[in-house]
Symmetry: C2
Subunit: 313 residues, 2 copies
């Protein structure tokens, strides 16, 4: 099938990840605009400068919007913000979405699609997971270190006729973009890693992967957390591979020690996606009566962190 | 019975708590010396200056030792250091203890007496819990805010004939000093509060009591942790009162919000007694096959915190 060309796309939340996938769509001839927050004027003037193993993928958006006032609609609206309770994603999407717009989420977490589906029940909805190491190092300046693979699926499942052309456009730009018939399964699979490692890293003040695995009892603890995620997934109807815990540990040990993106957000005092990655898993566990005491403890500790102090010094 | 007088006592670890109980023994006529670390020369010159609701209990030690080289022995050696895996308490005691010395521990935690008993199997051993709000605000300067009650017992139990005269000496100085026939029971009782609140406060970056109780799910979480401590105590042979969890919550709510001493140690980057207060409880649970997943999670997270990072930035 031919690659889609000349589509109009809008990237909302054009940080490192958003500007990266925007670059790819731009590369295959799409007219790509962005909603940018802090870097808006600089990006409008100079565009995004990239360092990337894919070569020079620097690009300038067709338009840079810094607020919601517009009458422009798009074929694709790609939402790349963090998923935060304080961020009304439906409201972010609303000004740009027509009856014909395909909504694309490139976001982390579990059970994150429902609020968007509810707000736009008649629009095609693609849910995507990005496997990528990309960092915004300065305004408008992004370093793409490695990877870039995207897992794309219609939500809640199927809808390959919408997912495939979007995947093909990205594939044509040079990254692996695989269509999944069951993206929720893929999200649970990714949670097996993220749900334990990300919040544990925050609670241990930014611990890296090997610090977590090598602490006394650390690996056993991470495996216990992973096993809880697997049980919740199973209760929700998603049977993950029998060796998924071992495979995740082996995979982590095979890589150099590193701090995950949530740990880095935490260390830079930025908002973290704990709700989407841990809170929602604990909520699904509760709904299905699955006991997750270890995940629950991490969640409770994060809730206490988020609570304002009553004493000051 | 008559109060003991003219006894020779040595306080090891004469920080806020040690210098406070030293002041009381001095007040009733004992000859009290101290082993002081950082404040040694200042304390030798000026003694300890107190603000206290008990009146002026400022005092100057008979001698101030700053190291172990001596031939002096004492009737009572009172150990008031923190209980840390890095601190060999038997080695701290050794230079000052004769066959006739009564060893007194005024220290936190559970199962903290065994290493001392093992090193000095023939000396009377008193184990004490201090209920006190006292702070060292400057070298040699201590503010005693409130309380001071001491629970004193022979270890592992009984030995009232040794405990009572020591308690009477302190009582004569103006604090409640109660002898317990079963000090280990009293330690478990105190752990019902300390084992949940202290480490949770660290993991939540210094959270105060009301912050912990008022966070979403916070009170239920603290109660779950308390219930785990109660089950471990029961498995170890100590049946705590049926209402102990409710009573601890009510007692905490009845007081103004405050940061516990472990939280304050943590915020000042000083060593914390997590091993004595949490690690030992988890170890006893394991020994008796009691499931404590919530305590276990806190312990694992603290182990990860203590592990050095593998990446640097």
């Amino acid at each position: 099938m031919g690659t889609l060309t000349n589509k109009k796309a809008l990237i909302i939340g054009a940080g490192a990840i958003g500007s990266f996938y925007g670059a790819l769509l731009h590369k295959v001839g799409w007219q790509v605009s962005v909603v940018a927050r802090s870097d808006a004027s600089l990006v409008a003037e100079q565009g995004y400068q990239f360092e990337s193993p894919l070569g020079d993928i620097s690009w300038r958006p067709h338009k840079v919007y810094s607020n919601e006032n517009n009458n422009e609609k798009f074929d694709y609206v790609v939402l790349c913000t963090k998923v935060l309770p304080s961020l009304d994603r439906a409201a972010l999407l609303k000004p740009w979405v027509s009856d014909n717009t395909t909504i694309v989420l490139i976001q982390n977490g579990i059970e994150i699609e429902a609020p968007v589906l509810e707000a736009f029940p008649n629009n095609p909805l693609l849910s995507c997971l990005a496997f990528i190491a990309v960092t915004r190092v300065a305004p408008g300046k992004i370093v793409h270190k490695a990877f870039g693979r995207l897992k794309i699926g219609g939500y809640p499942h199927g809808n390959r006729e919408v997912a495939q052309p979007f995947a093909d456009a990205l594939s044509a730009a040079g990254v692996a973009a695989d269509v999944s018939e069951d993206i929720v399964y893929e999200r649970w699979l990714k949670c097996v890693w993220n749900t334990p490692f990300n919040p544990a890293s925050i609670l241990a003040n930014g611990a890296d992967t090997m610090q977590m695995l090598e602490a006394p009892g650390g690996e056993a603890f991470i495996k216990t957390l992973m096993a809880e995620v697997v049980r919740v997934a199973a209760a929700a109807g998603y049977d993950l591979p029998a060796d998924v815990v071992e495979a995740n540990i082996a995979g982590t040990r095979a890589m150099p020690a590193y701090r995950n993106s949530m740990a880095i957000d935490y260390l830079h005092q930025r908002d973290t996606e704990t709700e989407a990655i841990l809170g929602n898993v604990v909520a699904v566990a509760k709904k299905h009566g699955v006991s997750v005491p270890h995940l629950e403890t991490m969640w409770a500790l994060i809730q206490i962190r988020n609570e304002p102090p009553r004493v000051s010094d």
